[in-house]
Each structure stands twice: as structure tokens, then as C-alpha cells.
């Protein structure tokens, strides 16, 4: 970073803090001197006729100074042309304006001035700006996805992409090279994604749910205290670790086992990736389901026990029924996690875009293909690179819809018991 920028940043902090201290003390002086002699020494605000405490006058100054110098800083950055004179003027301007503001605001310090209210407004304003930045960033990402996707669809037809059965994005490496145009039918890779997700959910759904039921209904408080964190450790393992676990342990095990039965199975398969991904999302399902099962009021269980129902009858017919919407929500969130997962499938699922329902074959997924498309040395606007954006867009839309449904289901469920 340029040194001048660092200096200006430091100057801004100094001006803000200095303005705060200076005007706060000034306010305190005026406030104390405005009180009757015998009261001096107490700093009670109440009944003094002052609207705001001294520190609020300080905060008010700090906000104004900080905000103005920030604007000057940004403006200065924008018009910067590299000349030293410019930089010095810039620095002087920030300094002068800061000092001026601090002294101008001195006059504002009076019993009537509602510094406290103004500080409240500033905070409100800042929160709005910050949330706007978050929203705008999201919008920007979506728009760029959309934009690049549109460029892709100007080269490859939308219908061919969405319904084509052939995925082989082998285009020419350089513009002057002759080569095939490649085919971009996304069905096989969405099918692969779906297949792996199915395998993962077949593992994680029942296991996660049973864990949740055991923890919330059957385990003693002591067991729960030990088991729950242990399961949540699973959620903290980096996915790349899961990935090489799938590639080096689970994949070969499945292959060897199949060989003893006389089948030949590749090391990289939908099954290997799916099983490991299933293990990865077990804690997601178990802890979300555990939460919703716990949210079912104890009074419902008591009501059922009091009618002579056993624990498992109560679980199946009352608790599970009450928690069902929340459990569905948990499953949907897990599905969207599974189809967005990248590292495990990159390592364990393979890259062959087979259109198959057989989990023992190698398949590929949307996320794997995006990685493959963008890590080649391609021209940036070749269809091959742009296809990654189209895939990303479709994946984004799918997970967005899943998450929206899941959250609305969960929310509706929450409201019922409040």
C-alpha cells in the first residue's frame, strides 16, 4: 500500500478520536459551568436542562468528522493521478476539514442540542448502508452469473444445454486451431449430482434422524452432553479430508469388496462419494432435527404418556408428527448442501459424464464440471469457460429454491408453537 494512504487512514482515526475527546470535554465543561455552584461535582444529567450527556456530544462530533473524512478519502482515491503534489493537497484537505469540523461543532454544544438523537440516527443510517452493501454484493454476483450465462447461451442453445444428453466440452484450445465444437448437454452431470445426492441422503437421512430421536427422547442428559458435541465434530472436519478419505479408503474398499463378488468397479464411483458425503451431512440433519424435536412442547409428550402411550408410540404419533415440517426443512437444507458440495466429489466421484443410475459407476457432478471447466487453460470467452457460469446459475437457482422452501417450512413450524 502507498504510504500516503496509510497516513491518511491514521489521520482519519486521530481526527475522529481527537474530535470525540475534545468536544466531549468541552461539553462537560459547559455543562458543569451551567449548573449552580453547590451542585458542581455531581454529573447527574437529570434535571440539569441538558438534553444529552457530554459523551453524546463527543460521539456526534466523531461521527461527523469520521464520515466527512471518509468521503474525502474515497473521493481522493478516485481522482488520484500519481503526482506527489496532489497527494499532499489531499492529506492537507483531510486534516483541515477534520479540524474545521471539530471547531465548527463546538458551537453546537448547548443544552438544547439533541446529540443523543443524532447519534441514534447515524447508527441507523450506518446499519442500513451496511446491509445494502451485503445485498448489493449478492445482486452483483447473481447478475454476473446471469450475464456470463447469457453469453454462453448466445453460443449454445438453451434447450440443448438443459436437455442435451451428451456432455463433452472439448473445444479448440486456441482460436486458430481446428477442433470439434464440443457438446454441452447438461443432463448427465445433473443426473450424476442427483445420484450422489440420493446416495448421500439414503445414508444421512435415516441415520441423522435416528440420532436426533435418540438424543432428544431416549438419551439421558449426561449421555447427550457427551454424544452431541462428538457428532458435531463431524461437521467441523474440512471437506477435503472427507475427500481423500473417500478416494483412498472408501473407494478402494468398495472396489475390493465388489471384486470378491466377481464384479469390476472403478475406485471413483457415485457410491464412494455419496457414502462419504452422507457421513458429512449426518450432523447437519441430526442437529437440525434434534432442535425441532426439542421444540415440540413437553406438554404434548406428557399428554400422550398420561393416556397410557409408550415412549415409542408417543415418538411416532405425537412428537414426530409435530416435528415433521421442521424435519422436512432439515432434509431440504441437507439436500441443497449435498448438491453444492464440491471437494468430496472432485476427489471421489470422477470426471466421466456417464448418464447412469448405477451408483457403482463413475459419474460427475455440476460442481466437479465447473472446477474442470475453469481450471483448463482456455480463453475466457470460449463456450467451455462460459459453460461454467451457466452451470453455476442453474445450481444456484436450484439451491436457492430448496433453501427458500426449507426455511419457509421451518419458519411456519416455529410459529405454531410460539
Amino acid at each position: 500500500m502507498d504510504q500516503i494512504i496509510l497516513y491518511i487512514l491514521i489521520l482519519m482515526v486521530v481526527l475522529t478520536v481527537g474530535g470525540f475527546i475534545y468536544n466531549k470535554n468541552l461539553a462537560l465543561d459547559r455543562y458543569l459551568s451551567s449548573r449552580a455552584h453547590e451542585e458542581i461535582g455531581t454529573t447527574l444529567l437529570k434535571g440539569s436542562g441538558w438534553h444529552s450527556q457530554a459523551s453524546y456530544h463527543g460521539y456526534f462530533t466523531a461521527w461527523v468528522v469520521g464520515f466527512c473524512s471518509f468521503l474525502l478519502f474515497v473521493a481522493g482515491l478516485y481522482f488520484r493521478n500519481g503526482s506527489e503534489v496532489y497527494d499532499l493537497i489531499w492529506l492537507a484537505l483531510v486534516l483541515a476539514s477534520g479540524v474545521c469540523i471539530v471547531f465548527l461543532l463546538n458551537r453546537k454544544i448547548s443544552p438544547e442540542f439533541a446529540a443523543r438523537t443524532w447519534v441514534e440516527r447515524f447508527i441507523h443510517f450506518c446499519l442500513i448502508v451496511l446491509s445494502f452493501i451485503a445485498v448489493l454484493t449478492t445482486f452483483g454476483i447473481v447478475l454476473s452469473l446471469l450475464f456470463e450465462s447469457l453469453r454462453f447461451f448466445s453460443k449454445v442453445s438453451f434447450l440443448d444445454f438443459l436437455f442435451g444428453l451428451q456432455w463433452s466440452p472439448q473445444t479448440a484450445l486456441r482460436a486458430d486451431q481446428a477442433g470439434q465444437s464440443g457438446s454441452f448437454g447438461a443432463v448427465p452431470i445433473f443426473a450424476g449430482t442427483f445420484l450422489i445426492m440420493l446416495v448421500a441422503m439414503t445414508i444421512a437421512g435415516p441415520v441423522g434422524l435416528m440420532i436426533a430421536i435418540y438424543l432428544s427422547e431416549y438419551a439421558s442428559a449426561a449421555t447427550r452432553k457427551i454424544v452431541k458435541p462428538l457428532i458435531e465434530i463431524l461437521a467441523g472436519i474440512p471437506t477435503v479430508v472427507y475427500g481423500f478419505f473417500a478416494l483412498l479408503t472408501v473407494g478402494p474398499t468398495i472396489r475390493n469388496f465388489a471384486e470378491t463378488l466377481g464384479f469390476s468397479v472403478p475406485t471413483q464411483s457415485a457410491l464412494a462419494a455419496g457414502v462419504v458425503m452422507g457421513v458429512m451431512i449426518i450432523p447437519l440433519i441430526s442437529s437440525l432435527s434434534d432442535d425441532v424435536i426439542n421444540a415440540v412442547p413437553q406438554s404434548l409428550r406428557d399428554g400422550s404418556y398420561a393416556l397410557g402411550a409408550t415412549k415409542s408410540e408417543t415418538m411416532k404419533q405425537v412428537v414426530f408428527k409435530g416435528a415433521l415440517p421442521g424435519i422436512i426443512g432439515a432434509f431440504l437444507l441437507a439436500v441443497s448442501r449435498a448438491i453444492g458440495e464440491t471437494m468430496i466429489v472432485v476427489m471421489a466421484a470422477g470426471r466421466a459424464a456417464n448418464l447412469t443410475g448405477n451408483p457403482f459407476e463413475a459419474v460427475t457432478t455440476v460442481t466437479v464440471q465447473i472446477v474442470a471447466l475453469l481450471t483448463g487453460d482456455q480463453e475466457f470467452d470460449s463456450p467451455k469457460t462460459l459453460a461454467a457460469f451457466a452451470l453455476g446459475l442453474v445450481l444456484f437457482v436450484i439451491t436457492l429454491i430448496l433453501n427458500m422452501i426449507a426455511l419457509s417450512v421451518v419458519r411456519r413450524y416455529r410459529e405454531r408453537y410460539d
Binding site: 439421558s220 442428559a221 412442547p297 406438554s299 404434548l300 409428550r301 406428557d302 399428554g303 400422550s304 404418556y305 398420561a306 393416556l307 397410557g308 402411550a309 409408550t310 408410540e313 404419533q317 405425537v318 408428527k321 409435530g322 405454531r416
Partner: protein, 255 residues
């Protein structure tokens, strides 16, 4: 107090929550028909004692019951006795109405289904109708048995819960402050219902309202800090209590 053919006989009943003794040796006989009210300040152990009659204390982690409780002469804490079967004979209504997240019909049919009490839909329909009639709810809900039980008003929910308890054909109904979440009109309806039900069932009710105890009960037991202080005919307790602590409580000087 002498009671002919008591439904329950309790001798030296103590309940512990961990190391804390909530009840210090209760001796009481409960009459078979009619309403027995338990009164006393909060935390004196009324709910705890009520739960010993259907062994709901078993479901609370750390709770232990000692002493003996017999129902029709049979020890209900006998090792060989299944609490699940006991609870089919001793129904319970809670402070806050707790209908299941099911339809009105399914709420009432839940118990009979679990205990396999009916064969076929027609019998179940009849049982549901009879239970709802006895709970005084049938006329209000007969056209909407399929709507969720949680959609009813508080008073209706509490009567639905009573219908649900009645449906398994219990001998006893325990009620733990059943009217404390209800408005005066719903409370009046509930009290009228209790008057009807007492012809058929042994009813034990915990209540915070002196007036309610006086209105609905035949016998009243006053509890104080884990002890049974006084137990007598309701009229006697409210007009001429034998213990100053009872006197202080019913006149509002304690509690």
C-alpha cells in the same frame, strides 16, 4: 378422616427430586366417587403428589417415589405393574390445554387406538362421539371433527383434552389446575362438566382458587411445604378449619 371403600390409599408417600424431598410422608385415603380437591400455596407439592397416582413422576428424570399407593387394594408401584396400563385407568388433564397437533377426531381416537379398544371405524366413531358428548363438546364441534384440535379456543381445548382422557374409559381423572388458563365463562363450563363427571369417575383436582375448590369438591386436602396439613369435608375446611395454617391460607393471609 374415615372413608368407606377408598379408591386410593396412600401411606407414608415421599417424593424426592434428586436429594430434595418434595413430599414428607403423606397419608391419605381418596374416595371412589366424587371430587377431592388439593389446595395449598405454590411449590407445596400438590402437582407432585397428583402425579404419584398415575406414576407420571416416573417420566421425570431424578424423581423417586417411596411409600405405598394402592388403587382398589392393588399396589400401583408394584414391580410387576406396567405404568402404561395404569395410565389407561387413571387419566390426567393438565394446567395448559395440550391437544396433539392432530384433528379433533384423531385427538380423541388416539388413546383408544393405542389400547386397541375398538374394532372398525363405526365403533371408533361412536366412541369419539360418546366421549365428546360426555365432555360437553360434541355440539360445538360435530361438524368440524377434521379440523386441528389446536384451532379451538382455550376452553374448548381443555374439554377436548378431557374427552381424550374419557375416551380410554378411565376410572380416575386427575386434573392439575385445569382452569388456570381459562376465562371465567370457560371456567364455569368446566366446573359444570366436573359436576357431571363426578357421578361416574373418581376426580382429584388441584386448584389455586379457593372458590373453585369450595364449588366443585366434596373433600379438600390442604398441603403446606410438602406436608398434608388437613383433610376433611370441603364444607368443614372452609367454614371451620382445624389448623391455623389452613385458616391463614384460605383467608388469604399466606400463599
Amino acid at each position: 378422616m374415615d372413608i368407606q371403600n377408598p379408591k386410593f390409599v396412600c401411606r407414608d408417600v415421599r417424593v424426592h427430586y434428586g436429594d430434595f424431598e418434595a413430599l414428607h410422608g403423606i397419608n391419605i385415603d381418596i374416595a371412589d366417587r366424587g371430587v377431592t380437591a388439593f389446595i395449598g400455596p405454590s411449590g407445596c407439592g400438590k402437582s407432585t403428589f397428583l402425579r404419584t397416582f398415575n406414576r407420571m413422576n416416573d417420566t421425570i428424570e431424578g424423581a423417586r417415589v417411596s411409600g405405598s399407593v394402592t388403587m382398589d387394594g392393588q399396589d400401583i408401584y408394584d414391580k410387576g405393574l406396567d405404568p402404561v396400563l395404569l395410565r389407561a385407568r387413571v387419566g390426567m388433564v393438565f394446567q395448559k390445554p395440550n391437544p396433539f397437533p392432530k384433528s379433533i377426531y384423531d385427538n380423541v381416537a388416539y388413546g383408544p387406538k393405542i389400547h386397541g379398544m375398538t374394532s372398525g371405524k363405526a365403533e371408533m366413531d361412536a366412541l369419539v362421539e360418546r366421549s365428546l358428548r360426555r365432555a360437553g363438546l360434541w355440539e360445538e364441534v360435530k361438524d368440524r371433527l377434521k379440523i386441528a384440535g389446536t384451532g379451538l379456543s382455550g376452553g374448548q381445548q381443555q374439554r377436548l383434552v378431557i374427552a381424550r382422557a374419557i375416551a380410554v374409559n378411565p376410572e380416575v381423572i386427575l386434573m392439575d389446575e385445569p382452569a388456570s388458563a381459562l376465562d371465567p365463562i370457560a371456567t364455569a363450563k368446566l366446573e359444570a362438566l366436573i359436576q357431571e363427571l363426578k357421578e361416574r369417575y373418581c376426580i382429584i383436582i388441584v386448584t389455586h382458587s379457593m372458590a373453585q375448590a369450595a364449588r366443585v369438591s366434596d373433600k379438600t386436602a390442604f398441603f403446606y411445604m410438602g406436608d398434608l396439613i388437613e383433610y376433611d369435608a370441603t364444607e368443614k375446611i372452609f367454614t371451620n378449619p382445624g389448623d391455623t395454617r389452613t385458616q391463614d391460607y384460605i383467608t388469604g393471609r399466606t400463599g
